[in-house]
């Protein structure tokens, strides 16, 4: 696969690995946060940590759309799905996210119809095909995904489709990064910037990190060499005393982002004054809802919602994991009460969730693995 396979080359990885090692000051600990869960997934899936010296630690960030959905929103979605005639749709990622009374599969087992779609346009298609049902699309995701929802709503409006609405849970990445930077228990040396969200918002929005907080940011692609090279670029900035925003992923990310996509979001949606993030609590202006011009497509207005705030389970430490304060295995319930089969927190659900990625891919000791995997 072009633009994929060439970035999975072990030979080049070894070379980058050597360059990174050369840049390590002895005795110094380096902590980089990959903001995006996609990077977390890449790191574990390809075994990137095998190429890093011991004193570089990758800290998993909040950029997993599923992990930040609070329980109350899952409950709200199930509440809507239980209304007669409703066909709820969402991405496969949402199906196993726990609400307070079970996930979407459990809800379907009790009688709802919650179906996976590949694209919000597919949800709209279902609405067209089944005019006697209320089709609701539960939208999740950062700015990467929001334009698709916006374009779908524009299309529904243009076609005059009345049985379609969006349960909007889009969030914005910058306020989350800011919350982490402002968190007192955080000590990071730099950021691996989210590649795909940057195709939409561009690289400019990260400049405050370099400027105001003095931390380097490298916007990175999602193949393993992309990540490794980004770490190299971060190490170079640190070695040279720089703190800038760099774009490792320039083949895909234009510095200015995608103005048409931003325009679509702006036309259809508006910022919420505040939104609850799982584990992180309420963050101001950190999420989107349908704008007043598209209120007809707003499932929150079409269906009465209980909107009950459900507290995270006491034992859940997702907030600390999402802020990068705890490693997944440091959570008290990791792998015992909280497993992919019976997740307590959302981070154990999405393949992008730090706990799930670590549990599924990384749950073993380096030493034993090195012996076992020798070819």
């Amino acid at each position: 696969m072009r633009f994929v396979d060439e970035y999975r080359d072990a030979g080049k990885a070894k070379a980058l690995s050597a360059r990174i090692a050369e840049l390590c000051e002895p005795g110094r600990e380096y902590k980089f946060m990959e903001v995006c869960g996609g990077h977390t997934h890449t790191i574990y899936k390809h075994g990137i940590e095998d190429y890093l010296p011991e004193n570089i630690t990758l800290v998993h960030g909040p950029g997993c759309p599923v992990c930040v959905i609070p329980m109350g929103r899952v409950d709200d979605a199930i509440h809507i799905a239980r209304r007669p005639g409703v066909l709820m749709t969402s991405f496969g990622d949402m199906m196993r996210v726990p609400g307070s009374g079970g996930n979407f599969f459990d809800s379907n087992a009790e009688g709802t119809s919650i179906r996976m779609v590949y694209s919000p346009l597919d949800a709209l298609k279902l609405a067209r095909q089944q005019p006697d049902r209320q089709v609701v699309f539960m939208a999740i995701g950062f700015e990467t995904t929001a334009p698709s929802t916006a374009v779908t709503v524009l299309r529904a409006a243009k076609e005059g489709i009345r049985n379609f609405s969006v349960f909007c849970n889009h969030v914005t990445i910058i306020p989350a990064i800011k919350a982490i930077l402002d968190s007192p228990d955080q000590r990071l040396d730099g950021f691996i910037g989210p590649g795909h969200v940057s195709t939409v918002i561009g690289c400019g929005p990260y400049e405050f990190i370099a400027r105001d907080y003095g931390k380097p940011v490298v916007v990175a692609g999602f193949e393993p060499l992309d990540v490794l090279q980004s770490i190299h670029l971060l190490m170079l900035q640190l070695a040279q005393g720089r703190s800038e925003v760099e774009n490792q992923y320039s083949r895909v990310v234009p510095w200015q982002g995608n103005p048409a996509a931003l325009q679509a979001i702006g036309q259809v949606m508006e910022l919420r004054p505040y939104f609850e993030w799982r584990g992180l609590g309420f963050i101001s202006y950190s999420a989107l809802r349908m704008g007043t011009g598209y209120a007809d497509f707003d499932a929150e207005r079409r269906f009465e919602l209980p909107g009950v705030r459900v507290a995270d389970p006491k034992s859940c430490q997702c907030g600390e994991v999402l802020k990068g304060v705890l490693k997944p295995w440091e959570c008290k319930v990791f792998g015992t009460a909280c497993t992919p089969e019976t997740p307590i927190g959302t981070c154990m659900v999405s393949p992008e969730g730090a706990c799930a990625a670590y549990y599924n891919f990384g749950r073993f000791s380096r030493d034993r693995v090195r012996r076992a995997s020798a070819r």
Binding site: G92, R96, D122, P340, E341, P351
Partner: protein
């Protein structure tokens, strides 16, 4: 304590918990219980094995081995509930026959007889049933087996999905080898008999709701001839499994658990067709967990691996067979994947079906 020691302590505790007796926590059956992953295993072990426990059932193999008179018989059963019923490369009829033939074959048996049970939904077209029966006959002829008994039930509209078929197969075990996943041992080679995931991806696309097109056909095929080729070439075969629900990764995990060994697989040795990979990337799923219906994994004495591979490749169905990994002693119970990129990771069981994802 060092962080890495603390981590190791947590991981040891996790592994201990994974070894515990399974409990079904859900109050209601969900689709995950049928997906062939962890939820299915838990259901089977906690409910069925618990209720029916006996030494013949306990191996939970593709087929049970039974002594009748002086013969060793293999018995296997499977229900087929595929949607759509007709798909590129086959239909529920040949799928059902091949699936049963394969369970017998990988248990080391020569397939002989089939019993077929149909659960038809009111409103199912008789013409489709005729076509399915025809495919079954063709598949049975190809595999040299006969349908000797059957049963037909009709359920009300809305209580079925057109046509469900259960097939039970009876075979005879004629060779001396004791095939058993628990017999797999360090040093053994892991061989897959062809490219993986074609059936599962074909079915996903054939459902039509993803709107994805590809020139893919199901890999459904009877593997008994290929198995015979393999068993004839060497005495070093420890065990075989056909890679159906849950895909190759699930089988590797079953072997790791049954034999208390580590299975170490090389990602770049695994044959995957580009279209399968393309669809998998687009949907965010891993072909290792996608069902095949004409592929099996064999665990073969490492010293015999070349001979085994050569035998498999001689057969048209096995032309793309490949050694994809080997067995190590430690860490027992885990499957490790050496990535093409040069890293290593766990390759665990999934809870349920691999789900298309966006993140």
């Amino acid at each position: 304590m060092k962080p890495s020691d603390r981590e190791q302590r947590v991981l040891d505790r996790v592994e201990r918990i994974r070894g515990r007796r399974p409990v079904v926590r859900e109050k209601l059956i969900t689709l995950a219980h049928g997906a062939g992953g962890k939820a299915t295993q838990t259901l089977i072990e906690a409910i069925f094995l618990e209720a029916f426990r006996n030494p013949l059932l306990e191996p939970l193999g593709d087929a049970a081995e039974l002594a009748v008179g002086t013969s060793r018989l293999a018995l296997t059963t499977d229900s087929f509930v595929v949607t759509p019923l007709f798909f590129p490369g086959g239909d529920i009829g040949d799928l059902a026959v091949n699936g049963t033939v394969n369970d017998l074959a990988v248990a080391g048996a020569r397939p002989l007889y089939l019993a077929a049970g149909f659960i038809l939904e009111e409103g199912f077209p008789v013409a489709d049933l005729t076509r399915i029966a025809g495919s079954m006959r063709e598949a049975a002829d190809a595999a040299g087996v006969r349908v000797v008994t059957g049963d037909t039930k009709v359920v009300q509209r809305g209580k079925g999905d057109g046509c469900y078929i259960n097939i039970t197969g009876v075979g005879v075990i004629e060779h001396q080898a004791r095939l058993d996943l628990a017999a797999v041992r360090p040093g053994d080679a892991v061989i897959v008999s062809g490219p993986i995931g074609e059936h599962g991806v074909t079915i996903m696309l054939a459902r039509g709701d993803l709107d994805i097109e590809a020139d893919l056909v199901s890999d459904t095929a009877p593997v008994h001839g290929l198995v015979a080729e393999l068993l004839g070439s060497t005495d070093g075969v420890r065990a075989m499994r056909d890679a159906t629900r849950g895909g190759v990764a699930t089988i590797l995990n079953e072997a790791a658990r049954a034999a208390k060994v580590a299975v170490v697989v090389d990602e770049d040795a695994i044959p995957v067709r580009p279209e399968v990979r393309g669809a998998a990337e687009l949907l965010g799923i891993d072909p290792l967990y996608v069902a095949c219906e004409g592929r099996f994994v064999s665990f073969v004495d490492g010293a015999e691996a070349d001979r085994a591979l050569a035998a498999l490749r001689r057969h048209p169905l096995g032309a793309q067979s490949a050694v994809i990994g080997r067995i190590a002693a430690d860490p027992p119970g885990l499957v490790l994947l050496n990535t093409a990129f040069g890293g290593t990771r766990i390759c665990d069981l999934l809870v349920g079906d691999p789900l298309p994802r966006i993140c």
